[in-house]
């Protein structure tokens, strides 16, 4: 197992390359998720603004 991670001395280069790729992909997925949450919240407030306000008639 240790020899697998050592990659005959090339471990640093191989795992750095793959590590950065994994990190970048995780960041992309998290960014899409957080953006989606923000956009859905925005859509909710737009929808509730557009809906007739039950209190409006009393004024």
């Amino acid at each position: 197992m240790t020899s697998f991670f050592a990659m005959n001395g090339y471990g640093f280069y191989i795992w750095s390359a793959y590590g950065i790729a994994v990190l970048a992909i995780v960041v992309e997925i998290l960014l899409i998720r957080s953006h989606r949450k923000a956009v859905l919240a925005q859509a909710r407030s737009t929808a509730s603004d557009a809906a007739p306000d039950p209190l409006a008639a009393t004024e």
């Binding site: 790729a21 956009v39 859509a43």
Partner: protein
């Protein structure tokens, strides 16, 4: 088989379809990545010239292919959007740019970590690397230009023109290793010649390429859904979506 494909050019029709497709593409990408990495890092034999360092190829080549391919697809949708003034095509182009930038970044960094042990340097200003770096700047330029323009329809047109202009860089990247004397090696796999690599290595690389494809499709469709909600949020159908109605 009378499917009206044009129906899906409407954001309201495409949004639920994309939602159904995302988990399938993401799942396929995960399975293929697991198989591809197992072949690439465990099964494939040590290269007789480069030792273990060559194993970066299973990441580097698929990412580099995708970086160019996604740009062409982005430019294609931009052209459709400019020509037919279709909203969804422009949103498609908008959704692809960040994934293209990601693939370019992976191609550049994995290339650097491959170059160091094999060429003795992380970076050289040779034609292949420089043109790939320009590709990253083109993606970042398209993203930045969109963020700089408030009106999304104007941003669509401006980004579309920029994306189409940048297409000239794609053949430059592809043929750079033939046109100039580069530190970067020539193509290992091409459509015209038999691949210059062992078949198990080629298998691993192709599986990783399909994984990259499916991942990019999943990520772009997921991002597209977010963009649709963001840009169409005044529309009645958005207000009727269960994920929007849930709390409101």
């Amino acid at each position: 088989m009378a499917i009206n494909w044009f129906r899906f050019s409407s954001p309201a029709a495409f949004y639920p379809l994309a939602g159904k497709l995302v988990p399938w593409f993401a799942g396929a990408a995960a399975v293929l990545t697991a198989i591809g990495l197992y072949i690439g890092l465990v099964v494939a034999p040590t290269d007789f010239q480069q030792g273990e360092a060559y194993r970066i190829i299973f990441l580097h080549v698929p990412a580099a292919w995708m970086s160019m391919f996604l740009y062409v697809v982005m430019a294609g949708w931009s052209a459709v959007a400019l020509g037919y003034n279709t909203r969804l095509s422009a949103m498609m182009a908008q959704a692809i740019a960040p994934s293209g930038a990601l693939m370019t970044l992976i191609a550049l960094t994995s290339g650097a970590f491959w170059g160091r042990p094999t060429w003795g340097t992380y970076w050289a200003w040779d034609a292949r690397m420089t043109s790939e770096l320009i590709l990253l700047f083109l993606y970042l330029g398209v993203i930045a230009l969109r963020n700089a323009i408030d009106d999304p329809r104007r941003a669509d047109r401006a980004c579309g023109v920029l994306a189409l202009t940048g297409v000239v860089n794609i053949p430059i990247i592809y043929f750079s290793v033939q046109w100039w004397n580069t530190l970067h090696q020539g193509a290992t796999v091409s459509l015209t010649k038999a691949p210059a690599m062992a078949s198990i290595m080629l298998t691993g690389m192709l599986i990783m390429s399909f994984a990259a494809w499916f991942y990019a499709i999943a990520a772009c469709l997921a991002r597209l859904r977010t963009i649709i909600v963001e840009r169409e949020r005044g529309a009645a159908w958005i207000a009727q979506l269960p994920e929007v109605k849930a709390i409101a």
